[in-house]
């Protein structure tokens, strides 16, 4: 009797603990967002989006930092996507099983956990100095590509593994080569999963400041980049720079810039969810 009651009590306790845990994160996030909106929303305007950096908080805007962020995202996507997918296809479909494959897999998973500043230092030495790019967009986006490659590889492998083997078997049975099977059957079926992984990886890249400061992103750039060889700033650096200024107006600007960064991240996440749902409907 008491035993049953005890177990029921435990059950209830665990359920409560679960609810508390779930809401802990959500409430914290909600409080954070409410504060940011409260501080930053009145500051948001078209003028703020198209203005250059300034010493006067009321004149300053995020135009160049936002353009830098968009450039960095685009270039990172361009570099990381083909590399990531090719690596994942190789690991999933071609690599001979054995010690080599295991070591490679463990290392890729480990790379996903390396702190981003380390990638920054690597990028500084490799891209900015050895390859003589300097502190331009190319060096920055190569560095971020390295940073998110492990995430893309892991996500793509998951997506490829989820493709039913019956599809592959049917393709082979019809006489298709391995390449034809991968290109025409496996990758299209895995498309939703790959996109989800890619966009989540880019969402991580968009918030990075540390590695970009190391490879040479700047704080004051009064022009939008016109080519990958141009210098740039990005939103997280602009936010960091504003937060550490003494004038209160810059803190408000930082809040407004955070809203823009959040909108970019949320939009990308929404696209990821959208693509996944669309893909699921198709396969069902």
């Amino acid at each position: 009797m008491t035993n049953i009651q005890l177990n029921r009590a435990k059950d209830k306790m665990f359920a409560t603990w679960g609810v508390v845990s779930t809401f802990f994160g959500i409430i914290l996030l909600a409080v954070f967002i409410i504060f940011i909106l409260y501080d930053g929303l009145p500051r948001l305007s078209w003028q703020f989006l198209v203005s250059l950096p300034s010493r006067k908080p009321e004149n300053a805007g995020v135009y160049t930092a936002m353009m830098g962020t968009i450039w960095i995202l685009g270039l990172t996507l361009l570099f990381a996507l083909p590399l990531g997918i090719a690596a994942a296809v190789y690991l999933e479909e071609y690599i001979p099983k054995g010690k080599f494959a295991t070591i490679l897999e463990i290392n890729i998973s480990n790379l996903a956990g390396v702190p981003s500043i380390i990638y920054g230092l690597l990028g500084l030495q490799l891209f900015a100095r050895t390859m003589k790019f300097g502190g331009n967009l190319l060096a920055g986006s190569f560095t971020l590509s390295l940073l998110i490659l492990p995430i893309i590889i892991v996500a793509t492998r998951e997506a490829i593994r989820a493709v039913p083997s019956s599809i592959k078997d049917a393709s082979f049975a019809l006489g298709a080569t391995k390449w034809q099977t991968i290109w025409l059957q496996v990758l299209p079926s895995a498309f939703g999963g790959i996109m989800t992984g890619l966009i989540l990886a880019l969402s991580r890249a968009v918030g990075e400041a540390a590695p970009l400061i190391v490879v040479g992103a700047l704080a004051y750039v009064p022009f939008a980049p016109k080519s990958p060889m141009d210098e740039y700033s990005v939103l997280p650096i602009q936010i960091f720079n504003w937060i550490s200024r003494p004038q209160h107006g810059f803190v408000v600007n930082a809040a407004a810039a955070i809203i823009i960064l959040l909108v970019i991240t949320f939009t990308m996440n929404a696209i990821a969810v959208f693509l996944r749902n669309k893909h699921q409907k198709k396969t069902n």
Binding site: G134, Y220, P222, A224, I243, R245, P246
Partner: protein
């Protein structure tokens, strides 16, 4: 449903395109001055000097919109590393160039000139509720902050017996900041040497909040942060043996607020001054910094000192031209 989403996405794309074109229009608007210069000037270095150089660059843009100036914030040390490799034209510095950095410049055949541009005052701050401290001497500050004080000097009455028998809570910038280096050098006598058991933050606004909310607090940071938070903080007058002095524009300029004020600098690469846009920018800098430094919270030097800097710079430019 699907078409709605497409619509939203395409609207987003269109607004982004709009943004692109808007920015371009803006840069075109400002181009209406004679004697056009173009080219680019690369600046990096101290985050303390950054707000001043940013202000100057912003104003320079109004007269010479085609000169593209970029400014980074790698810190004084990081800035000199790039400067010594010839990667930047001008370096912002909150201290003089070190011997190791001079060596680096020598190795890469880089000649340069350092110009004082303003003063940065450091403020010692306490909570507005603190009613027992009327001033602190440099000796007392040393007693509180030196490495030997760790775990020993923990209460206010250890500094002066008539002060409260309460724990003293210390706040200061992190060890990576130039402000920390300067404070320890001026007070303890050795740069980078202090007790470790204080609340450190790289963000001075965090220090402001910490000191404000704690009656038994004591801390230090740049004077500009005090100026912006006058109503919630209390300034400690500092006595260096000649009477207690509050930091202000007057006391920093006449040198009575010592040792907690320092000059800040820009360093200019010699090869860069063969480019007219760099010479124009530095001259503009020396002409305008007096008003602009004050506007962003720093203390300008006196006219005579700026005239002196201008002379030094023009001689530097001239000698370079003749040697070339």
């Amino acid at each position: 449903m699907k078409s709605k989403k497409l619509l939203v996405i395409s609207m987003l794309l269109i607004s982004m395109l709009n943004l692109l074109s808007c920015g371009e229009n803006q840069t075109k608007d400002n181009s209406a001055t004679a004697d056009k210069l173009s080219g680019s000037i690369k600046i990096d270095g101290s985050s303390t000097v950054y707000p001043i150089t940013e202000a100057v660059a912003e104003e320079f843009r109004a007269v010479q919109s085609e000169v593209q100036i970029t400014i980074g914030v790698s810190g004084t040390g990081g800035g000199f590393k790039k400067f010594g490799r010839g990667e930047t034209d001008i370096s912002n510095a909150s201290r003089l160039i070190k011997d190791s950095e001079k060596e680096l410049c020598k190795e890469n055949n880089i000649n340069y000139i350092g110009l004082e541009i303003a003063y940065d005052g450091m403020a010692v701050i306490m909570s507005p509720e603190n009613d027992w401290v009327d001033h602190l001497t440099v000796e007392e500050l040393k007693k509180i902050w030196q490495p030997e004080a760790q775990d020993k000097i923990k209460k206010w009455n250890q500094i002066r017996p008539n002060w409260p028998d309460k724990e003293i809570h210390l706040f200061g910038p992190g060890t990576a900041s130039g402000t920390y280096d300067y404070f320890t050098e001026a007070i303890v006598g050795k740069s980078g040497s202090s007790r470790g058991d204080y609340t450190a933050s790289e963000d001075d606004n965090v220090l402001v909040q910490g000191i404000k909310n704690d009656k038994y607090s004591l801390g230090f940071f740049g004077l500009a942060y005090y100026e912006e938070n006058k109503d919630i903080l209390k300034l400690v007058p500092i006595d260096n043996g000649k009477g207690a002095v509050l930091p202000s524009e007057a006391t920093v300029i006449d040198g009575t607020y010592a040792p907690l004020s320092r000059p800040i600098y820009i360093y200019v690469n010699q090869t860069a001054v063969s480019r007219p846009e760099v010479v124009a920018f530095v001259n503009f800098y020396l002409n305008e910094v007096k008003t602009l430094a004050k506007e962003v919270g720093y203390i300008p030097m006196q006219d005579a000192e700026y005239d002196e800097s201008k002379k030094i710079f023009s001689t530097f430019v001239e000698t370079h031209k003749t040697t070339k």
